[in-house]
């Protein structure tokens, strides 16, 4: 059995979480609340030490770029949401600036990966796999053609096959997700058995 206090804390945390499998209990609740609290504080610390402190020192103090102070003050307006109701609208200014900046980036950048994918769909139809791929793509697309009347038997049929093809996609995603979670579970189990208890697996 391990004598390292950190391993013991890790093991207690792991067991507290798994105790939920029996039923909801105080140990699980403590673990849950602790994780929320620590993650919040961790992110505050990370943002402060990775952005606020270095940006303030580098740009405001050393390079004398004083508009950073203006932007910082604008950022503080976010807290106007907690002010009396007549001042709460002030929080919209930093949100508008941030949202606008992000939208511009998405507007310019988001089509590129999609165009790459569309270009990849246009494969030469020189193998069975490529033909199947292209047909699958078309039938799934046809499922999303809501502007076309659904009375046609052809549209109805291709839409139904499109749904089946999508189910194959969801099935692979589901299988991979379940396996990812199981591998995490095995990782924790290995930790408990080897690092904590000291068994050789």
């Amino acid at each position: 059995m391990s004598t390292d206090p950190q391993i013991w804390v890790q093991a207690i945390c792991t067991l507290a979480c798994y105790s939920y499998l029996i039923k909801e209990n105080p140990a699980y609740r403590v673990a849950e609340y602790t994780l929320v609290a620590l993650y919040t504080s961790y992110n505050i610390t990370r943002l402060y030490h990775s952005f606020i402190k270095p940006y303030f020192i580098n740009y405001c103090l050393e390079e004398r770029q004083y508009y950073f102070i203006v932007m910082g003050l604008l950022g503080l307006l976010l807290y106007a949401r907690y002010a009396p109701p007549q001042y709460r609208w002030l929080a919209r200014y930093p949100i508008a600036l941030q949202v606008g900046w992000g939208l511009g980036g998405s507007l310019a950048r988001s089509p590129r990966p999609v165009f790459t994918q569309v270009a990849d769909v246009m494969r030469p139809l020189n193998s069975i796999d490529n033909v199947v791929f292209f047909v699958c793509f078309l039938v799934v697309m046809s499922y999303f053609f809501f502007t076309v009347a659904k009375e046609s038997k052809f549209i109805q049929g291709s839409g139904r096959i499109g749904r089946y093809i999508m189910m194959i996609g969801f099935g692979t995603a589901f299988g991979n997700t379940v396996q990812g979670r199981i591998s995490l579970f095995l990782n924790r189990l290995t930790f408990l058995l080897t690092d904590w208890i000291g068994l050789s697996v």
Binding site: M71, P94, V121
Partner: protein, 219 residues
Amino acid sequence: MKREVPLVLTFVMTLLRFGFEMLNPMLTYEISEGVRLFSRISFSVTFMYCMGLFMGLINLTRVHGNTIRRRREHWIYSVWLLIVMYGYAILGLFFGGMESKPFTWIYDAVIVPLDSTMFSLLAFFIASAAYRAFRIRNVESVIMMVVAFIVMLGNVSLGEVLWSSEAFLGGFKGLKDWFLATPNAASQRAIGIGVFLGSYAAILRVALGLEKRYLGGID
């Protein structure tokens, strides 16, 4: 002033960023030797929204403070949450930062195992939820469960034992690879294009001021 100015600001910032991304002379424009205007604006916007770092702390304090004040059920856990949250934040902000030994010790001892164990718990719930949600009721659920089963068997050595990759069709592994590369990739592409068209329309609606909910209902 309260609603119109933020909408105009959003539009102007969208155009500005779009211009930076699309026009090379704008992107490479330097305000001084080696200092690009784009990176400075980008850093200052990041600096601005990072100033909201205490929002999560304030919100949690308000929610759990109310629970404690009104002595709601499980209020004692809220006390624990506030103590841990403020304690760890003070440790990280004022006593050595993220590289300090106590800070990293707690991160490795508590956050890492709790985080991965919480996710691994989903292995149990995802299986029971899948049983309830996708009980074989129609063709779609049969296809989904069979494919999921094949993908899982294709990833583990049991699948290799049951149907070797050197056998007909490449065994479970070959079938899994084909599912991933052909019907799965095709359906993901088609869904991706649909998602892109929808999200692009939503982006344009926000940029043009037709969608205003992101500003909240505060007046």
